[in-house]
Symmetry: C2
Subunit: 257 residues, 2 copies
Amino acid sequence: MAPRNKYEFIRDSVLDLVQSLEVGVPIPPERDLCDRFGVSRMTLRRAVDDLAREGFLERHQGRGTFVAAPKLGQQLTMTSFSEDMRRRGMAPGSRTLSLATVTAGAPLGWRLAVSPRAEVVRARRLRLADERPMAIETLHVPHALIPGLSAGDLVDTSFYDLLAERYGIEVASGQQSIEPTVTNDEESELLEVPEFSPAFLFERTSRTSDGTIVEFVRSVYRGDRYQLLVELMPARTRSRAGNPPQQDPGRPPAATT
Amino acid sequence: MAPRNKYEFIRDSVLDLVQSLEVGVPIPPERDLCDRFGVSRMTLRRAVDDLAREGFLERHQGRGTFVAAPKLGQQLTMTSFSEDMRRRGMAPGSRTLSLATVTAGAPLGWRLAVSPRAEVVRARRLRLADERPMAIETLHVPHALIPGLSAGDLVDTSFYDLLAERYGIEVASGQQSIEPTVTNDEESELLEVPEFSPAFLFERTSRTSDGTIVEFVRSVYRGDRYQLLVELMPARTRSRAGNPPQQDPGRPPAATT
DNA sequence: AAGTGGTCTAGACCACGGC
DNA sequence: CCGTGGTCTAGACCACTTT
């Protein structure tokens, strides 16, 4: 909860400050902030640097540091559906389609790293943006992690908040695959699009800091309402001429274009 | 060319070192590297921190800093097709379908920020991975930037290398949109997939450091051979309760799930 | 205890922008 | 010119891992 070191304290403090200001206004000079928070300039700069890298601030040498316009094509970071929609300027909504406890079975068990005979809570939700269907989300969580979850819990609260507050589970990392797909008849009906419409298929696995798999989520997003926008960086990798011994990691994974 | 400050020099030096080592071996202690390169520890650490953040190194307190396994699901960074394919363990290839100089027209002119009557070089290439079709790439470059480009130039060389070496153009940033789509009849034939197969549509705009638009690229990737894998970060945004005045930037753009 | 990375400081000097 | 951010230093002390 409480920031553990000065860096985190400063980072949070500056974030608070930033979020209390309008876009485009400058934050106080670094040296002032150092005084105010009682830290050295290096420490303060580390915090501000990170916030700038994350898109909250824009630095301009000689002029100052300014609150940045909310970057929409932000980093591919772990955001909830609700936050994602709000960033896109739409009002998030949700309709729970089903909530059941099922036996994992082989494929699901594998993805959640539990026994195929383990119990798994499966929640299916239709996700809305501005009242209209945006995505179908199917959530799988090992039942052992969330005893006593009820359908009502999923209506208002963010699932991540619920995990944190009620079960003390903090999601720390995740991996997500992105594929193009087309909607089947059921998805088409729910999403209100013609059959075989282009759509995104996201599959996400989330873990706690100790590596425990918390959830496996499969989401189908309408391709006509949802697009990804990515900022490409210079990629100064400077790949060497002779290329290193290439491993074969068994899986086909991926990166860019 | 030459690094301008110590940070860049150190960063490049350490990257060289890293790339000369096997995965998993430790790099020398920070204090040794400081001596070797003649910089203070803060400066060295900044370089190592960045390399760690970019996935080249892994730090472990009390143990050391180690060469990381090449992250395949690396940052969404600006890689060429060839490098991307090599990372995925496939051999890149290319077949030029057409190369012509055309008049931009309104939509293309808008994307390249040139007059609709400006001349634009359009190159269409079938991109291969392990000899099999992977993507169709349509490249548009203002003719003024690349006088005298011939079809042969595109066969072997990376287009970015060609830009850099022959025309002195360094691509510095870019923006890319990602959408799901389905193949039309022409694309299906070229990609050797059934009609209406799921596919990715990438649209990329690249700029030099001074903001000049270098290229607009439209690529269609086979959905059955290509997937994106993204590492999600903790997203410590700590979104506030009251949400800020939301702009409406006119476009729908995007970020995550 | 020794060695490693992690945090932090107080201050110096440089580069750029605006007055 | 002054105020801003950008770079860099030399050293202190802490936290963790290994021996």
